[in-house]
Symmetry: C2
Subunit: 307 residues, 2 copies
């Protein structure tokens, strides 16, 4: 008897298509061979223009015989290529795969976002679900609590390998609009991406918010501390960041013996890990590079060649 070699998997084109940019990757078997980037986020693509943008960026990959293409992120929103209805939670790989929205049958699909229900309102994510799948895969996790900090931070509860529930916090956006459009901005430096971080003032902000009270009041302290010249503008930018991240962390159901996975950019990881430490909670830190792993894992059952 001769052993039969497993059939090779279909070539895979993966696209993470966000609001302001997109990135794409090409994989043979389980290996990512190349990645590309474009600034054609969904807000810049005219209606009907999505196939052309994809063709321009990834045409050679898509022309590979029997290539499969999965697209995650805001491309599946109402303002995107097509509306991929949200997959309800709990959801893992199986549920997401079952809810793929096919643009071309068996060839190009949009990964749906997730939704869950809170008593007062629904909650949604689009794109993060793939990143979370990747983290679970990379770390071999079945049960975990994660936070993906950012403009709209996501707190995620994973049980038995599925995303059971999640909750969104508008922390990053509130920080940015208060800093750029409220009176607080008048005494703070202009926002930059590589602003130095004043850890002592960040800690003060976090600790104040963790004590409770209302962030609506605490925010005004950023103004008065500047008026009274009790802190430098740069220190107060860190203090403001601490206030809002502290307010986000305050509301979480956390336990000292249950570490939180912090998934995001290095700067945000540092701040969230610090804020969680101030609440007595340990963290594991991960970069936001799990997207390709998540898409690979989601695609695998679909990559056996059609007969």
């Amino acid at each position: 008897m001769t052993a039969i070699a497993p059939a090779p998997l279909r070539p895979l084109v993966m696209v993470d298509w966000g609001t302001s940019s997109l990135r794409a990757a090409f994989a043979r078997e389980k290996t990512v061979l190349e990645t590309r980037h474009s600034d054609q986020g969904i807000l810049k693509v005219p209606a009907g223009g999505f196939p052309q943008v994809l063709q321009t960026l990834c045409g050679d990959w898509l022309n590979e015989p029997d290539a499969l293409c999965l697209i995650s992120g805001m491309a599946g929103s109402a303002q995107g290529w097509a509306l991929a209805p949200y997959c309800p939670c709990p959801a893992g790989q199986t549920e997401l795969a079952a809810h793929l929205h096919w643009i071309e049958p068996q060839r190009i699909a949009l990964v749906p976002g997730l939704r869950c229900e809170h008593p007062h309102a629904p909650d949604v994510m689009r794109g993060e679900e793939v990143q979370i799948l990747g983290v679970l895969q990379l770390q071999g996790l079945r049960d975990a609590q994660l936070v993906l900090p950012g403009t709209h931070s996501k707190w995620v509860w994973v049980r038995a390998g599925r995303i059971e529930h999640f909750s969104t916090f508008m922390t990053g956006e509130l920080y940015a609009v208060m800093r750029q459009h409220s009176i607080l901005g008048r005494t703070l430096p202009t926002m930059t991406n590589d602003e130095p971080w004043d850890e002592a003032y960040f800690d003060q902000g976090v600790l104040l918010s963790l004590q409770g009270g209302s962030v609506l009041h605490h925010l005004f302290g950023v103004r008065t501390l500047a008026l009274m010249e009790r802190a430098t503008p740069l220190a107060l930018a860190s203090y403001l960041s601490g206030l809002v991240i502290g307010e986000e962390v305050r509301g979480q159901d956390l336990r000292a013996d249950r570490p939180v996975w912090v998934v995001g950019s290095s700067a945000l990881q540092t701040r969230y890990a610090r804020a969680l430490a101030l609440r007595g909670v340990q963290t594991h830190r991960l970069g936001d590079t799990a997207t390709w792993t998540g898409l690979l894992s989601l695609a695998t059952p679909l990559r056996h060649h059609t007969p």
Copy 2:
């Protein structure tokens, strides 16, 4: 013996000089005879231009023999006519009068704002202190809890006729910047001054915030309820208003047997009275017209003619 008639009081020019506009009033004895308005708020007046603006609006009044002029509001800030250093709390009429900042000795003075200390940061007000004095005078109050809702809401504790302590909440400004500059704005109507109010949705927002949790999360519900088309844009504008006012009210030290004085515009009075009722607290409502009473009361000891 003949009774000596009390000497007449000096004519009084009162100015409430805010950021975007100013209003002025002229009083003989205890009677306001005339009021005027100008759009020359402090942000529109060039450095050194304040005397001219005052002369243009109130020159005839100032020319009355022995006229006295008191100016309250942002004209006493660093960006105003001159910096009138904050008067520390506790402060009533006596303390404020002792801290007047004289532009022309015994003739034109800036009313100082107030400051108090919280453990984490100072708090300040400028202009509201005069309005509060007026309310105390008009209502014959010695001990009271007041709220002056607005861009920066002030919660004020009065004891034995003096402002003992106060606390500022950035509620109005946070509402405006989230509505005008965050993603929430995309599914809300453009802000107008006479927007209809959906009381049922306002109540829902208040009740959710009163339950606790974090406003950073609740805010995202304004987005998802719109995405899922579970409420109209106008209803969601009221819901957002309820969320932030509810968050402000949640944090207060309130008692069912201690009514709160709500001092402000009619629309805000209605919303705050409703939010406080939902927390089981009664309110007394007052328009924001106590400024002249406050300035009259502050000026009285200074209005006896100089010999």
